[in-house]
């Protein structure tokens, strides 16, 4: 039983009962009504982009003003003339040039020398800590985004409140609050050779679960069918990119496009998650060309398309990039970099006070480095996450989201 939002608004809501809508859908329809109209909607969305494999922050956001950068990276330093200068000290990797307009509009902020207090150089542990939000504590059962979603807000009335793009729910979103793992919006739901088969199977299973499911299976299956219905009604995947945005063909671009579609369809996404790999550049990392340049090209292209596509709506959307740690200051013997410590994060959209690199720069001379080899961490990643949550999504109980982290330092991205 699909019902369009417009039909619901015309009918004034009451007619729904006679249409046989179940109570959850009534909530959802009312929710959709409340947030309808687009203009002035206060619905805020946070998009988390995890660069798995430890991105070389020094190539992404180049500390061009630090002589040690040039000294330690004779083979992989970027050609000076190609750097996209930001503020005299820092510059963007040339392949990140598509993001420069955001910087100029003050909607792209950067935090450098950011990372975890944990000393681990294991991807495995460091990703786990960044996702659980509890460095050096392995027993934390849930992810920080899920703990955030535990607060009883109106977003709870949509199954799309926390959505991860991928086959599995990432650790960041694991936990007791409902969250959706979607590999691809276009295939979410029942699959059959013919559309009529899909409709039949969806109807049959919905009736089966309404009839005989109990407990969590009942409520979750109701969420599933609700999500299917909402997708069918809103049909987000039919929305073409706006403002001439061109998404590439990568998995990341596809996921970001679908996140934009969910946002534009006003389905109530509060936190979206997507990850992108390929940053573990031990060998032949390259400079303006090569491995890393290719990955950054894809990243910048997808992000630029996303922000262009959403246009004015980026006011209500913040994207944050993260990676488990950075890489060695000095290039290694195979023209790559090894596992390091501090790295850089990009925060764009919303009310972020962009056009600025935040965080204290510790310097790259050997004695300024962490253990003599890595960019030191001067900003705890949890301080950045806390500020984004509070500055963008609204009040949050930080000691609940990041247990044991009682005193986030002020980074200043939201004033």
């Amino acid at each position: 039983m699909a019902i369009s939002r417009r039909a619901f608004m015309k009918a004034g809501g009451l007619a729904l009962v006679s249409l046989g809508a179940d109570p959850i859908f009534l909530d959802r329809a009312a929710y959709a009504l409340k947030t309808a109209g687009g203009t002035g909607s206060a619905r805020k969305t946070l998009v988390c982009l995890f660069q798995r494999g430890a991105v070389d922050g020094l190539s992404m956001i180049v500390p061009a003003g630090d002589p040690w950068y040039w000294q330690e990276r004779s083979r992989i330093a970027l050609p000076k003339e190609q750097l996209v200068s930001l503020d005299g000290m820092f510059a963007l990797h040339p392949r990140l040039a598509p993001l420069k307009p955001l910087w100029d509009q003050h909607s792209l902020a950067i935090v450098h020398a950011v990372g975890s207090p944990s000393t681990t150089r294991s991807h495995f542990d460091a990703q786990d800590y960044m996702e659980s939000g509890t460095p050096d504590v392995k027993s934390t059962p849930d992810g920080w985004a899920n703990r955030y979603c535990n607060h009883p807000e109106e977003h709870a009335s949509t199954p799309f409140r926390a959505v991860a793009f991928g086959p599995q729910l990432p650790r960041t979103m694991a936990g007791s609050a409902p969250s959706l793992a979607i590999d691809d919006l276009r295939t979410f739901g029942m699959r059959a050779a013919q559309a009529s088969g899909e409709v039949k199977l969806t109807r049959a299973f919905e009736e089966l679960y309404q009839g005989a499911a109990t407990g969590l299976v009942a409520s979750s299956s109701a969420e599933s069918f609700e999500a299917i219905k909402m997708l069918k009604t809103a049909n987000p995947t039919a929305m073409p990119p706006a403002n001439g945005a061109v998404y590439g063909k990568s998995k990341l671009a596809n996921s970001l496009q679908q996140i934009a579609q969910l946002i534009k369809a006003d389905l109530g996404v509060e936190i979206a998650f997507v990850d992108v790999g390929g940053w573990d550049t031990h060998v032949n990392q390259g400079a303006d060309q090569g491995q890393l340049a290719g990955r950054l090209d894809e990243l910048a292209g997808a992000l630029a398309a996303f922000t262009t596509d959403l246009g004015e709506q980026m006011r209500d959307v913040v994207v944050i990039t993260m990676s488990e740690f950075g890489r060695t200051v000095k290039e290694n013997g195979t023209s790559g970099t090894d596992h390091g410590h501090g790295t850089a994060m990009m925060i764009m959209g919303g009310n972020v006070q962009g056009g600025k690199v935040y965080g204290r720069w510790p310097g790259l001379s050997p004695e300024q480095r962490y253990e003599g080899r890595d960019l030191a961490v001067t900003t705890d990643f949890r301080s950045v996450f806390s500020e984004v949550l509070q500055g963008h999504l609204g009040p949050a109980n930080i000691s609940q989201v990041f247990p044991g982290f009682d005193h986030p330092a002020k980074v200043g991205m939201f004033g």
Partner: protein
């Protein structure tokens, strides 16, 4: 009326008030044991066990070594991974790494890529490549779960694999894991807990996964360096690898695509470096997860002391085997849980410690509660935990006796606990295959499907293992994925599974008869009236009897009753 045991069990309990319930029929009891001590019933199995005696079947499962299964043994022979040693696996990994490294060094990018692609193809296609062997391990795990007659043993292997979780994609665990699963875990699944604990503590897989191999007494680094100088540069023992720098594919569910851990010279140099000091990782998980439990009454000081006692427990990379290195062992005295461990006893200190931990009351309670959560209810009832702990004390930690006590506990048979648990993705897939007499083929495709449903085998990155509670598995996307799986399987279109519905449900135009047959074969007669009516309604516009049968079976397996056990 064969099933008097539950009633007997009730009589044995004095102070456990249980809700009034109708006695279970033999069929109900058979269905219950098959859903908890096995990966669900195969068609006709419930009736057969009800006929022969439920407790007779249970006892046979507990004495699993007497259950001969020549058909399975035949199947297992086809899986090379069961016959390859850790050392051979390690050689494969090293050879592959060397090849990748050579390829990476090629200056011409087109030529480099060509060679890397060749290596990848070789890894994926080769019968004896490390990647192929690991895929085989997943496949044979499904084959055993579906087809083994020793079902309870398969359940316990899965339970212990999660209790003593190791992440197969962490560096050296790729070559070590098969041996860990097949010998360390499987070899002790129904033995004494203490033996299992010691076996895991000495397994290269665990030593690497939780970093004990790199944990050395503070200050022993310098001692070693001095020794090396004294020996004219000859190392007193082979280098211990950190090896953690490698993480070819952090996304669970997909194995590394190039099948190789590229090793740069700097990494190799790092690997030659002796470890630097104490690492508490294993010590903490040993107490928190493997034995005492998080509330088991130990302190941070105990964690440090345990780590110090276990310094020297490492991996000899030359033989890919456990070794004790006295040179890096902490020889000072230590205190754990109020017990003095005087220094200078080397490896014996660790053995004494593990035996002590294995027999702590907190351990008995913690592990018994987990077993009860697996066999009885997500929230394990106190009564059956007590029964299990009692059996533990009496038998000296004989897992068989502990499990036996749980199965005889009134809680196990209480109606409130029947059908109270939700299947894990593995349990769902395996029980679905069993329900339709299906078999996994020899490809990794079915295992990949288990991964897509949320439980990629042996790829739980954190040491706590996969969860046992319904909230770990039930989410909206996951349920839809199960429904799609069911429809695909019933339609005979599941890659990796061989299904012949003719052996399960006869083709008929009589929809009511069809549904009754599906209920009996697939759900063991547990179909609700509502489900029956819904399926009947959906069959109305399906004229083709074969399609009607596939739809009925798909709806039954994808429906709510089948998600529970």
């Amino acid at each position: 009326m064969k099933c008097i045991i539950p009633v007997l069990g009730l009589g044995l309990r004095l102070a456990a008030p249980l809700p009034a319930q109708a006695p279970m029929t033999a069929i109900d009891s058979a269905r219950h044991v098959l859903s908890r001590l096995a990966y669900g019933a195969t068609p006709g199995e419930i009736e057969a066990i009800a006929h022969d005696g439920v407790m007779k079947w249970v006892d046979r499962q507990l004495g699993f070594s007497d259950v001969h299964d020549p058909a399975l043994a035949d199947l297992e022979r086809g899986f090379d991974v069961l016959h390859v040693s850790r050392l051979e696996m390690q050689d494969l990994q090293q050879k592959n790494q060397a090849k990748v490294q050579q390829a990476q060094a090629i200056g011409d990018s087109a030529a480099r890529q060509r060679l890397l692609d060749e290596i990848r193809t070789e890894q994926q296609g080769g019968r004896r490549s490390l990647q192929a062997l690991i895929a085989q391990l997943q496949t044979v795990t499904l084959v055993r779960a579906v087809q083994s007659d020793r079902q309870l043993d398969e359940i316990l292997v899965d339970f212990w694999t999660n209790h003593f979780n190791v992440f197969i994609n962490k560096g050296q665990d790729r070559p070590y894991f098969a041996d860990y699963l097949d010998r360390t875990i499987r070899g002790h699944s129904l033995g004494r807990f203490e033996d299992l604990l010691v076996a895991t503590a000495k397994s290269p897989a665990m030593l690497f996964y939780l970093d004990n191999a790199e944990s050395v007494a503070d200050g022993s680094d310098q001692r070693l360096a001095a020794m090396q100088r004294g020996h004219g540069g000859v190392r007193p023992f082979p280098a211990i690898g950190r090896g953690r720098g490698i993480f070819p594919n952090p996304r669970p569910g997909v194995f590394p695509q190039n099948g190789a851990d590229p090793m740069t010279p700097t990494q190799l140099a790092a690997k030659q470096r002796a470890p630097r000091g104490l690492n508490e990782n294993y010590a903490r998980e040993l107490m928190e997860l493997h034995t005492l439990g998080v509330d088991g009454g130990y302190s941070q000081q105990d964690v440090i002391a345990v780590a110090r006692i276990l310094t020297g427990w490492g991996i000899d990379r030359k033989d890919a085997a456990y070794t004790f290195r006295d040179a890096v062992h902490d020889n000072q005295s230590k205190m754990v849980l109020g017990q003095q461990f005087s220094g200078g006893h080397g490896e014996d200190e660790g053995m004494r410690l593990l035996k002590m931990l294995a027999n702590e009351p907190a351990t008995m309670h913690h592990v018994s509660a987990q077993l009860c959560a697996r066999f009885v209810n997500d929230v394990p009832p106190d009564g059956c935990i007590d029964d299990a702990v009692h059996a533990w004390q009496k038998s000296g930690g004989d897992i068989r006796e502990v499990v036996r006590a749980i199965l005889h506990s009134p809680d196990f048979w209480a109606s409130v606990n029947v059908q109270s648990k939700v299947k894990t993705p593995l349990e769902f897939v395996v029980s679905a295959l069993r329900a339709v007499n299906g078999t996994p083929d020899s490809t990794p495709r079915l295992a990949q499907r288990v991964g897509q449903l949320g439980e990629p085998l042996f790829q739980h990155a954190t040491p706590d293992g996969y969860g046992e509670r319904q909230q770990d598995w039930v989410n909206s996307g996951a349920l839809l994925a199960r429904m799609n799986f069911a429809v695909q399987l019933a339609g005979g279109k599941m890659p990796g599974a061989v299904v012949d519905l003719d052996r399960v449900v006869a083709v008929t135009d009589d929809h009511a008869a069809l549904i009754a047959a599906v209920d009996k074969a697939v759900l063991g007669g547990a179909m609700t009236q509502r489900t029956r009516e819904t399926i009947l309604k959906e069959l109305a516009d399906v004229p083709d009897p074969r399609m009607a049968r596939a739809l009925a079976v798909g709806l039954a397996i994808g429906g709510p009753e089948f998600q529970r056990q």
